[in-house]
Each structure stands twice: as C-alpha cells, then as structure tokens.
C-alpha cells in the first residue's frame, strides 16, 4: 500500500515536471515566434530583404537528405559510409539580445568574444537602408543579433531570445583542411560526385542554398572547369586608409576592427600601424565590414546605431580601400582619435574610462561616442556621465558634433571630450563638484573659476595630442592647432577654454610676442602627466595651480600665479 502511494506520488510529480518543462518549451517557442514576427515586421519596413536561411537545422537536414537520396557517391565505398554516417546536429544558436538598460547592454559588451550586430543577420540591407533607419531615441537601446556556439557559456546563460538553431558546416571541424591550398591548385568539386569530405561540404552548401533560393550567391563564384570551389577556404586581408586633408594625403587607419561577415559567421581583424589587417579563414564569399567599435568604445552614427562601413562581398580577394569623405570619414577620424587615446602612448596619461573596469564609483561600461551630424534640441559636443547615470545609463556619454569640419578639428574635439571622461574617472568626486558648480552655482565667480578648470584641462590634452598626430607623426613642422595652439587668443576673448594648461608646457610667451592683450606666460616645461595628476583634489582653477606648485619642482613655478591670474573670475 505504502509503495503504491509512493509510486502514485512519483508518477504525479513526474507528470507535473514534464508538463512544466513542456510549458516552458512552449513559452520559449512562443517567444521565438513572436520575436521573429516582430523582427520581420520591423525590418521589412526598412526595405531590407529577408532571406531564407540555409543554415537552419531544418534546411541543412533537408539538404543532407537530398544528398543521400541522390546518391552521388560510389556505393559500398568509404565515401558512401562517410555520407551515410554523417548527421547534422546544431552547432550554433542564432540569438537576439534585448537589453533594457545600459547595465544589461554593458554585460553584453564586456564579453569580448561576442560580435554583435544591431540588425538581423538573415537580412540583406544596403548601406543606405541601414543609414536611414529611424533614429533611436536618446536612451533607446537597439536589439542585438549574433550567432553563438551551442556549447558556449553564452548559450548556457540563456539571456537571449532564440531565433533559430543552426548548423554551419563551414565552422565544423569535421571539414577542416589541415593545409590551405591556393584556390588555383584546388581540385574543386564535381557537381555530379562526392568523393571527399570537402566534396560533401560543397554539396551540402549547394543543396542548402538551392533549397532556400540562395544558389545565386554560390553561382557568383566562377567554377573551375565546371567544378565547384565556392566553399573553399581563404584568408581575408587588406589595407585601410583615410584621406586626411590636413595631412594632405591618404594615411593608414590604425586599430580599426574589420569583420568578415558571412551569414552567421564572423571573423575579426584589427588594422596595424600601416592600415593592414588579416583575419582567420572563411569559406566562400564574405563581406568586409569596418565596425567602428573596440572593446572600450563604440561609435554610434547619427541615428545612434552602431557606426559601420560596409565593404564589398569578396571571395579570395583582399580589400584595399581608401575612405575619402562622408559619414565613413567622420567615423574614421573619430575612431582614430579614440584609438590613439585608448591604445597609444597618450603621454603617459591614465586611460579614458575602460570598459568593465571597477573604479571607485563602480564598474564602467563601454563608452558610447555619438557621432552627431546635426544636434537635436541644441546639444553641442559634450561629455556627461551624469546625464548617462540619470537616464539609467541609456544616454551616450559622449556626443561629437563636428560634422563637416576639418579632420584635425574632428580629431581634436573627440580628444577634448575623452579628456573630460578621463578627468571624471581620475577623481570622480572632484569632477562632479566642478561640473555642478560650473553650471548650477548662483555665484558667477564660482561658475567662472570652475568652468575654467573644467575646460582648460581637456583643451590642453586636445592641443598636445593633435600636435602629436599632425606635427610629429606626420612630420609637418609647420602645423599648428587652432589659432597657433590657442596662443593667438586674447585673455579677454575667452575665459574658460583657455591656453593656460598648454602654456605651462610650451615655451611661448604670448604677451611678449603678440602684445598686452595676450596672456603673460613665463611658465614652461611642465608635463601633461604632471598637470593631470594635479587635477586630483582640485575643485576650481586656483586649486589646480596650488596642487601643481606643491607637487612638482620647476624653476618657472614662480610664475604660476602670474599665469593663472591672466584670467579673472
């Protein structure tokens, strides 16, 4: 009797367990179907073309069945065993992430193995269609799409909406060649016969693409004597340059992230100091894309989506490209400034805010730089972590509004805003105090002295780093930044964006050269690193001066009072 009771309970619990799992499965399936419908409705409206996905498990299995049914191999041979025994299981998951806060988005961005796109991967979009998407509202976070390995940590965490289970044969180690052969030496695959694993791969791809109406993608690759070579492996590479009119020629884009996109497969390369890049191998045709994003920062286009430059579809061909203007040049120069600051020598300064780093105020998220072409409701270029925090981190911390300006001005503005960001992580409490008093104090004296400190620091970094690029790196001894490195600026004309910081570094006394309307500057040979460290604890203009005096020995330090007094509160 007791045993019968136990058995009954066991049966009831089992049924309940299976039912709840099935319910969860149904809920997930519903969620997937709903998500797919919503995505279709949203992106078809943009003009994008939804492609029938050859890589779904269902389509790949159909393709394999067709191959087996067609029997294009010798019966009772090792080939027939290979084909008969071959089975398709999911290798990847095509997923969508829908972060609701920047904190959730930051969790995604901290994972450097995830390469995310803010558009679905089974759609065809032109650059124009992507660029003319309705802009995200300030604070709105896009949906992100990517493919993840089925046995990855990301897959087990399940914080995504599953769009499809995939089998990507090009990624299957089963089909890896141990040697890469130049395509001219490849045997190619006979469309009528399967002999090797390579042949099976080619036939599988062909059948799956044909089944889904995508065979035109494969047929663009010319065959060799009627043999297929569309799935063969090759190593993408290339060179990227940008025309910088201030330098007067094309210059390499360094540190840019180049992606090779092929449906759900992504390869990544970073351009070196000469603009050269290469990626791991891909099979068949793939599209080169420059994604203007690195781990620490992401450049957003005017609509606040991820800034990208779509390159061509290529197979076994390098991509050597020079950006000469438009959005792409704007993004390239902003990227270059951010890259130089984050990954260059930056005169020994601390880094601008680093993604995932734990600072005294908490964990930092990836810095978003909005490359604005027009300013909505009057926002000029700016940095604000406060605006970002108050909007639950939904707003881009940095806005660069320098569209249509000379390359060095775009570069310098980006450096300027990143220097504010650096200041904010160097000493958050003092920075917040300075900002608050700069804008919210009822006392004009307080506002002026705070604002002068707030803006003179980034102006200093801007001048120095722009000179480093345009004068030193590109060897132009005649180059000077705006208004002769801000030296041609009278004391009365500007009270906040002063030359005072750079004046402590250079050996140029404006008053002596240009006249009494200009600052008296007998201070020289401080380093920008010293000026940076003296910011710690400084909450207004003269406090910075006092820190510099107390921390550093410099024979011209006796003239610091004179220099700082050029600008009155």
């Amino acid at each position: 009797m007791k045993n019968k009771l136990k058995l009954n309970w066991f049966m009831i619990l089992s049924i309940l367990f299976i039912y709840s799992c099935r319910q969860e499965e149904l809920v997930n399936e519903d969620r997937t179907n709903t998500a797919k419908s919503e995505i279709n409705a949203k992106f078809l409206k943009l003009g994008g073309k939804k492609k029938n996905n050859p890589y779904t498990i269902e389509n790949m299995r159909k393709a394999l069945k067709k191959i087996k049914d067609d029997g294009k191999y010798k019966k009772n041979s090792s080939t027939s065993r290979m084909v008969e025994e071959f089975a398709i299981e999911p290798s990847h998951l095509y997923v969508m992430y829908e972060p609701e806060t920047l904190e959730q988005e930051a969790e995604l961005k901290i994972d450097s193995t995830l390469i995310l796109a803010d558009y679905p991967l089974d759609y065809d979009f032109s650059q124009e269609e992507l660029d003319t998407r309705p802009a995200l509202a300030e604070g709105e976070i896009p949906q992100y799409f990517t493919a993840i390995l089925i046995d990855s940590e990301e897959a087990s965490e399940q914080q995504y909406v599953l769009m499809d289970s995939l089998y990507i044969p090009e990624e299957d180690p089963y089909f890896d060649n141990t040697l890469l052969q130049p395509s001219t030496q490849l045997r190619g695959t006979d469309p009528k016969e399967i002999v090797t694993r390579e042949d099976l791969l080619q036939h599988l791809l062909y059948e799956a693409y044909k089944l889904t109406g995508n065979e035109y993608e494969l047929e663009q690759t010319p065959s060799e004597n009627g043999r297929w070579i569309f799935g063969t492996k090759w190593y993408p590479s290339g060179n990227l340059q940008v025309y910088d009119e201030v330098v007067g020629r094309n210059v390499p884009i360094t540190g840019a992230q180049v992606l090779m996109r092929q449906w759900f497969t992504v390869r990544q390369g970073i351009t070196d100091e000469n603009g050269n890049f290469s990626t791991n191998s891909v099979r068949g045709e793939a599209r080169y894309i420059i994604q203007w994003e690195r781990y620490n920062y992401s450049i957003r286009n005017g609509s606040l989506f991820q800034a990208e430059t779509r390159g061509p579809l290529k197979k076994s061909e390098a991509w050597n490209y020079t950006i000469t203007g438009g959005d792409d040049k704007y993004h390239a120069i902003i990227h270059q400034a951010a890259h130089d600051y984050y990954y260059g020598h930056r005169f020994g300064l601390i880094s601008p805010p680093m993604n995932g780093h734990i600072y005294s105020f908490g964990r930092q998220s990836q810095i978003k730089i909005a490359a604005r072409e027009t300013a909505p409701w009057g926002i000029p270029s700016s940095y604000s972590h406060i605006r970002s925090d108050l909007t639950f981190s939904l707003s881009a911390q940095i806005h660069v509004k320098a569209w249509g300006r000379a390359s060095d001005e775009v570069y310098g503005t980006t450096i300027h805003e990143l220097s504010h960001a650096l200041h904010s992580v160097l000493d958050r409490a003092s920075y917040d105090n300075i900002v608050r008093d700069s804008f919210l104090s009822f006392d004009s004296t307080v506002r002026n002295r705070n604002r002068r400190l707030l803006e003179t620091w980034p102006t200093t970094a801007e001048i120095l780093i722009a000179l480093d690029r345009y004068k030193t790196k590109y060897n132009n001894p005649f180059y000077s930044y705006y208004r002769n490195n801000y030296q041609l600026q009278t004391t009365s004309s500007v009270n906040d964006y002063t030359s005072g910081g750079y004046d402590m570094i250079d050996n140029f006394n404006q008053n002596q050269i240009y006249g009494n309307a200009y600052p008296t500057d007998r201070v020289n040979n401080y380093s920008i690193k010293q000026l940076e460290q003296a910011l710690i604890g400084a909450r207004y203009w003269n406090a910075w001066k006092d820190n510099i005096k107390s921390k550093y020995e410099n024979p011209t330090g006796i003239y610091l009072d004179e220099l700082f007094n050029n600008w009155q509160d």
Binding site: S381, G404, G412, T413, V435, Y481, I513
Partner: protein, 162 residues
C-alpha cells in the same frame, strides 16, 4: 485621496520632471553661446585684384579669387563649444575651415603688378600688411583692406603677371 491631494501630486510630478529636464540639459560639458566669426577681404586698391593661393609652395591658379574694385568677399561662421575652430584669412582659400597647408598668397593688381605674401611662423610677419599676420587674424570679426598703397608698393610684372 481627494482631488486636492491628487492635484498637488500632479504639480509635484510636473515640477520634478521640469527640474530633471533642466538638470539633464545642463549636465553636459561644452555649454556656451555660439560665437560668430565674420571675415572680409575688401578691395579698396583702385583696380581689380586676383588672389591666388600657393599650397605647399605650389601655386594653384584654379583656386584664385577675383575681387573687383570696391567690392569684398566675406565669410561668416557660427562657432559652438568647445570653440576649437573658426575663421582666418586662410579660410577663403580652402574647401573647409582648415587651412594648414596654404603657404603663400599672391595678390595680382590688374594683371600689371603683384605682391606675394608668405605664411609666417607664429603669425608674426615682418610686414604688417601681410595678410597672414596675426593683426588680421586674431579677432572674431576681421576685415582686411587691400589699399591703393598696397598697389603702389607691389612689384611690377613688366607684362603679363601670370
């Protein structure tokens, strides 16, 4: 909860939202009024003139600008924070506002006489009539007058100046 209380709550919410909007709008750096740069080159020389730039030492006649006697050319630019751009006399001779590669400017008077001004280090020129001198480039509003004296002091071409 009566209507009076609800009304007060609504007022408080409105006040709070207004405050937040004001706060957010003041929370970024780079706040300030636009500054208007206004640069002119005025031809009061008594004859027609042509201004021909040199880039990296190479004359580029395709970029020349003609100003008839008594007329002017003018450029205006509204500059926003961080105020790291603006106008100079060089700005007339570039496609955007960066003019870092212009090295000389030739002023040709009626295709009979000419003067060549060279860009000066630190904008300090030995000749204060030099259009590149700081005295013509340091304010928000600048007008450079080409005068009859400039014409008289220019060099005779002894034929075609080109």
């Amino acid at each position: 909860m009566n209507y009076l209380t609800i009304g007060k709550i609504k007022n408080m919410k409105t006040l709070l939202y207004t405050f937040l909007i004001l706060l957010l709008s003041r929370c970024g750096t780079e706040q300030g009024d636009p500054k208007l740069h206004d640069y002119s080159i005025v031809n009061n020389s008594g004859v027609n003139i042509e201004l021909i730039p040199y880039y990296n030492g190479v004359k580029d006649s395709s970029r020349k600008i003609s100003i008839t006697n008594g007329n002017r050319i003018q450029k205006k630019l509204e500059v926003l924070p961080p105020y790291n751009y603006g106008l100079s006399m060089k700005s007339f001779f570039t496609s955007n506002n960066s003019a870092s590669n212009i090295t000389q400017l030739e002023v040709v008077f009626n295709n009979s006489k000419k003067t060549i001004y060279e860009d000066c280090p630190n904008l300090i020129c030995s000749n204060n009539r030099n259009i590149f001198d700081k005295s013509h480039n340091d304010e928000l509003v600048e007008s450079y007058y080409v005068t009859s004296e400039d014409f008289n002091n220019s060099t005779n071409c002894n034929g075609n100046c080109y």
